[in-house]
Symmetry: C2
Subunit: 301 residues, 2 copies
């Protein structure tokens, strides 16, 4: 099992209004994830607001995570608009002690497939760390063609992909990717509500946003799906469904902050212009958390 | 006529590989625009790669433009992911002597309508300069609802909008906007191939990417359309069509750099990961320029 297998949990990066990272709170959030035995930490993912953080603050977050973790692999998001900035962030992460990188083709001018390839190739050559391709069209608005994924998989330290949920069946999507990519290339999914189905179908990883704040339910769902227990997976999915519904409507980052604040983990808010969801949505998220607790009591598995 | 009327020409911002602005070349590009009597300069637009530039380099570009211009209004793009960064860029622009601002809702986490409103409101309160709303879903992936535009138009120094081309008839789109917005709110369009139709229909402005490098053909087209000369407008459009075709396929920024390099104005390239188009596209762009020259000789108007 490489570090790109199992549950990769993405915490928020609590910051003040100026974008300075609250490293004490971040350390506490990461300790919760390690205590829940997640398989890796996904620091500075989309839920971790990496795109809104300066180079200095990204580095402070990485150093805090490295200082906190004892034996859980640390995957660090290094996406940025400029290739030279990504190279610098990747080298910072390596020097600071990250175990792996996650790279999204962040764009303003929409990128061509060849431009994205060159971007990834340049970054991969500038680091010794293994890289997971962060395929997230919802934020980057870039779509990887299958031939582009194949070209990238030929680069030695590009070893994994974090896929969005497909329009069709996830098992079909996974089978198509398996057939096209090297046998040891790790294929994982994100978009929390569909990922247990991915694990049941044999995906290598679930990159979870909600699991960065609720690691125990996410680990329980991961184990159920990895063990092929379809019934238990369905029950745990049902318990989480009210939360997934809010995530689908309001986005992982707004929901994760709402949960973390409700649990008393932080009083941080997302970076403006991103805001917490409106009060009525917050109430539904809290009700969904209570539904989750109730479900767990009813179904102690 | 406010500064948000007529032809607003957006130059590239020539930089070295590290993103440092070549202010001498930028000054020369801007002088060409002023000599062609464009109605305003759109500095640091999408074609001016603003999203890829640091605060310090944006400010250097603004200072170079202010130092160069004699009597053409300077509109400065100030978009960024973080609201506090945009406030800082807006204040930099005002202090440096810009005449107006152009603000796009740059996003990574997709923004809600309310979040975009708060973002614009915060920036508008932080500056005395008039602001044009930069509505460019092709790069920001944000769509302004008509009610949001109405709310924004109620803010005193938000005085204009730069619209994308509509899916339907531009005259219908303009009529709908005119009916919904204050009578003195300036409505302009971008996406070069459709803007002469906008001016013919009575739009206030054409925000031009190609006109930032080819100001004379763009001014000729602007004058033809503003004077209601449908036949001449059609002829000038036809002369430019081969160029529009490449812009539609490869994007304004790649085409603008190709033209500027071909004309000997600069040897700069776009900021990586954005690249110049492939050689066969460059050849077609050069052929399109020759077609334009030939058309102008044939139709000296």
């Amino acid at each position: 099992m490489s570090m790109f297998h199992g549950l990769s949990a993405f915490p928020i990066t609590p910051c003040n209004a100026s974008g300075e990272v609250d490293t004490d709170t971040l350390g506490h959030l990461i300790t919760r994830l390690e205590d829940a035995k997640v398989n890796s930490i996904g620091l500075l993912g989309s839920t971790g607001s990496y795109a809104y953080l300066s180079r200095a603050e990204r580095l402070r977050a990485i150093k805090a995570a490295v200082a906190t973790l004892t034996n859980t692999p640390l995957i660090v998001g290094v996406g940025a608009l400029r290739t030279d900035d990504v190279v610098a962030y990747a080298q910072d992460a390596q020097v600071a002690g990250a175990d792996a990188l996650l790279l999204a083709p962040v764009s303003y001018t929409p990128l061509t497939q060849d431009e994205a390839f060159a971007h990834f190739e340049t970054v991969a050559k500038a680091t010794d760390l293994p890289i997971s391709i962060y395929n997230n069209p919802g934020t980057t608005h870039f779509n990887f063609s299958l031939p582009l994924l194949q070209r990238l998989a030929d680069i030695p330290n590009i070893q994994a992909v974090k896929m969005p949920l497909p329009a069709g069946e996830i098992a079909d999507d996974l089978a198509q990717l398996r057939a096209a990519l090297p046998h040891d290339f790790a294929i994982g999914y994100s978009a929390d509500w569909g990922c247990a189905a991915g694990l049941l179908a044999g995906a290598d990883a679930w990159y979870t946003a909600i699991g960065g704040t609720l690691p125990k339910p996410a680990m329980a769902l991961t184990k159920a799906a990895q063990s092929g227990d379809v019934d238990l997976t369905a029950k745990l999915q049902a318990a989480l469904q009210p939360l997934w519904t809010e995530v689908q409507a309001y986005g992982s980052i707004r929901v994760a902050y709402t949960i973390a604040r409700h649990l008393g983990l932080t009083d941080a808010v997302p970076p403006l212009p991103v805001q917490l969801p409106p009060a009525e949505v917050e109430a539904r998220i809290i009700a969904a958390l209570e539904h989750l607790d109730l479900s767990k009591r009813l179904r102690p598995a």
